[in-house]
């Protein structure tokens, strides 16, 4: 059995997400699809699963063409797709999720038996009556895998499946995929993480800017893959670390008011210090950061910023004390769609006259745009910017004097150049004395830029480690809740 893609083209606006992609997937082994964020992998997989129609191109399964642009046709042909954020219905039960869309006339009891039988087969524990909301991301994935197989999938595509799942769940997932490939299925594993592809796949295709730039049989030297992915070999930047100054953010037995939080925190962050928060998504970093930002009151304990007690203070007072928060969702919680860059700068500059002088505001905006290398004009709307430029805009909206900077995933979804730029700006601020606390799921980012790393697991800090001495592998184990020692 083989799956063949020929000349797939897909454009979004002026972006060529797929620019003539040819690819052959063979049964019996796991095929990796490697590339940076934005290389066109996800688009390709969405085309394959019928989620979007390509502008041109063909897909052949065992030589027979598959009707494109129809998820139903893809399912019928036996192509199953596991999306990065598993597409389950959160309020519905596991069993309802299992049945929904199957289009088959099976009885609930029979479906429940099938679900349990197949889950057992892979060692998944899924309670058919539990609401999907109560499942972890890893469990939602397991549910989707079982469901796709039950629907008769012969081709399984996984889009970045290791984001947000634990180390044990990842091991189980990899074992499952190997077993499925051995049974003769086509398994495609899409990722931007080299280690995972090297660990799992027999053959790998590398994409860059919407095109296939190379293929290789594994194992092969990592440098070769990196070169194909990025076009140049990355020299890891080692940042000079200075001793942190006086404590500017102090937590004393602070426990965020959140159901998932198991423990209180006591921590002092010094001026110019960079603290990385590692951990699976949903391990407690989010309530931690949001409580430190003053967005939610702690259940107990105290928060002090630059010596002032802000425990009971409101978000506005945190801001006034020099706390700044940059959320992960840039267009959801950071910028405002429909407003221009000029308007964003106006909103971010407190004070100023009640009546707006638009000509002057636009001139100032143009200067700020140039200074921050944002690709856009004073009159472009925020949502028209690319992700990297949106992040640049968010950073340029920050007040000049920030004592404590709290961030969620500062470089998620950015290309390398933008990510580098973002961190250059952040480190500049850190040198001027800003304390930075950021959450990230990117181990490299955590290791490279933090002074200390707090590893979150199941709602508490499992360990605090100095970034200089810990290895990536050990950090990975800690994130999964395992002690490497």
């Amino acid at each position: 059995m083989s799956l063949e893609l020929r000349g797939i083209h897909k454009r979004y606006g002026s972006v060529r997400a797929n620019d003539g992609v040819d690819l052959i997937l063979e049964a019996g082994s796991i095929h990796g699809l490697l590339g940076e964020n934005g290389a066109g992998k996800s688009t390709l997989m969405k085309v394959l699963s019928g989620f979007v129609a390509p502008d041109s191109g063909r897909v052949l399964l065992d030589g027979r063409p598959v009707r494109l642009g129809s998820t139903r046709a893809a399912i019928r042909a036996g192509i199953g797709m596991l999306h990065q954020d598993p597409l389950v219905f959160l309020p519905f039960t596991v069993l309802d999720n299992f049945i929904l869309g199957s289009g088959r006339r099976v009885r609930r009891a029979a479906a429940r038996r099938d679900l349990q039988r197949m889950a057992d087969q892979f060692g998944f524990r899924l309670d058919p009556e539990a609401p999907a909301r109560s499942l972890t991301v890893g469990e939602r994935q397991q549910l989707e895998i079982v469901r796709l197989l039950w629907l008769g999938a012969r081709v399984l595509i996984l889009d970045e499946p290791t984001t947000g799942i634990s180390a044990t769940q990842q091991e189980r997932l990899f074992a499952t995929l190997r077993a499925l490939a051995e049974q003769g299925m086509i398994v495609a594993f899409v990722s931007h993480k080299l280690e995972e592809v090297e660990a799992l796949c027999r053959r790998v295709t590398v994409m860059r800017r919407g095109r296939v730039v190379g293929e290789a049989d594994l194992p092969c030297p990592t440098e070769r893959l990196v070169e194909m992915m990025f076009g140049r070999v990355q020299v890891p930047v080692v940042r000079e670390r200075a001793a942190p100054g006086d404590a500017v953010l102090e937590l004393q037995g602070m426990r965020p008011a959140d159901r998932g939080v198991a423990e209180s925190h006591t921590l002092a962050v010094g001026r110019g210090e960079v603290i990385g928060l590692a951990g699976l998504e949903g391990s407690g970093q989010r309530p931690f950061l949001r409580t430190c930002a003053g967005l939610q009151r702690p259940a107990e304990g105290r928060i002090r910023v630059a010596g002032r007690d802000l425990t009971r203070a409101r978000y506005r007072e945190f801001r006034r004390a020099g706390v700044h928060f940059l959320p992960a969702g840039r267009l959801e919680e950071g910028l405002i769609s429909g407003l221009t860059l000029t308007e964003h700068f106006l909103l971010a500059s407190p004070g100023g006259s009640f009546v707006i002088d638009w000509a002057q505001a636009e001139a100032e905006a143009a200067a700020t745009i140039a200074e921050n290398l944002i690709v856009g004009s004073p009159r472009s709307a925020a949502e028209e910017l690319s992700g990297g430029n949106q992040q640049r805009l968010l950073l340029s909206l920050m007040p000049s004097e920030v004592q404590v900077l709290l961030m969620e995933h500062p470089t998620r979804g950015l290309d390398l150049e933008s990510a580098d730029w973002v961190w250059r700006r952040l480190l500049e601020r850190s040198r001027r004395g800003t304390a930075i606390v950021f959450a990230s799921s990117d181990l490299e980012e955590l290791l490279r830029y933090s002074d200390r790393i707090l590893v979150f697991f199941a709602g508490k800090v499992l360990r605090e480690v100095p970034a200089e001495t810990i290895s990536g592998e050990d950090l990975g184990y800690l994130i999964g809740g395992k002690d490497p020692r």
Partner: protein, 330 residues
């Protein structure tokens, strides 16, 4: 207590059940529409126009059944405008719905002028043999003839029972109903599973519209028999509020409709007792029903749902996640 008291209670409850029947159609219909993720805000106009059209048809043809059919068709047409404008043109559902609300009510007044005060056939009465006579003997007091509360009515009232039962059964007990909920909950997931999201939304918006139309006919051909200007004013808004009160659950929504019916009947019965307030009593149930939303909008309903997970669907009252939003693939 005497036999008369019991009979009075039975008669009152029966009148509540009858008075609420048009609203029951409307809330079940709108619940289905909103479950699919579409808000049909035009109810106040749709009910009015279909009440007028249904009555006019029954008057001209002499057929009550045809009146109901035409009423349903009129309301379906309005629902179709909402579906089309939100799905194909991606217009704001609230905006279109509001315009249709005013348009429907004005159109009903304009076109219905010549039907004011005329007589047409009404929905026939049918006591259901045996069931209507069910009663419970209460020693020393008399017999509580509860059968008459439910089974001694006009035909359209039985239709409202059927709407509740079928609505509940369809939404929560069938595969199609699960798909309906999926489309309103997370359309991209429904799409990934091969469902035609927008086609289903068209279908359920129009289906819900049909029930809303039946509500109009049930007003003009049954409970408020006849046509006059403003016959159903504000009932559409109340139906929309009851859908929220009902937590997007057909049975709980129907309970809301009966609660409103009870308030209305109470206001009616109080009128002779409170002559000073007789003019404003009719409007109080509307205000009360709206402020009942304050009760269900707070956190405790969700906490209750967490506590009694068996009744989660009935208690939680969460709106469909994708309500009021358009879905497109790229």
């Amino acid at each position: 207590m005497h036999q008369e008291t019991l009979d009075f209670v039975v008669a009152t409850l029966a009148s509540i059940v009858a008075a609420a029947s048009p609203l029951v159609y409307a809330v079940v219909g709108e619940t289905i529409t909103e479950k699919a993720g579409v808000i049909n805000l035009s109810l106040d106009g749709s009910i009015m126009l279909s009440a007028m059209a249904g009555f006019a048809t029954a008057f001209m043809t002499g057929s009550v059944l045809l009146g109901f059919v035409v009423a349903a068709l009129v309301s379906m047409a309005m629902a179709l405008v909402i579906a089309f404008s939100s799905i194909e043109l991606r217009l704001n559902q609230i905006a279109i719905g509001f315009v249709l609300t005013l348009l429907g009510a004005n159109l009903a007044s304009f076109l219905g002028r010549s039907y004011v005060g005329v007589r047409a056939a009404g929905v026939p009465h049918l006591g259901i043999p045996w069931l209507e006579d069910l009663s419970l003997r209460i020693p020393k007091v008399g017999s509580f003839r509860f059968g008459a509360i439910f089974f001694d009515h006009n035909l359209s009232v039985y239709g409202s029972f059927l709407a509740i039962l079928l609505g509940y059964w369809f939404v929560f007990r069938t595969r199609r109903g699960l798909e309906l909920q999926g489309v309103g909950e997370r359309p991209e997931a429904a799409h990934a599973r091969g469902l035609a999201v927008n086609r289903l939304r068209y279908f359920y918006t129009v289906l819900g519209g049909a029930l809303v139309g039946l509500a109009g006919a049930a007003f003009s051909l049954d409970v408020r028999f006849g046509w006059r200007e403003g016959l159903t004013t504000n009932y559409g808004w109340i139906a929309l509020a009851i859908v929220i009160f009902g937590g997007w659950h057909p049975v709980r929504a129907a309970a809301g409709a009966y609660l409103f019916g009870a308030l209305s009947v109470l206001a009616l019965k109080l009128q002779p007792q409170l002559p000073d307030l007789s003019q404003i009593l009719p409007i109080t149930p509307f205000a009360l029903m709206i402020f009942a939303l304050l009760l269900v909008s707070q956190d405790w309903s969700r906490r209750l749902a967490d506590r009694y997970s068996r009744w989660r669907r009935l208690l939680s009252g969460d709106p469909p996640s994708a309500i009021g939003t358009a879905f497109w693939r790229d």
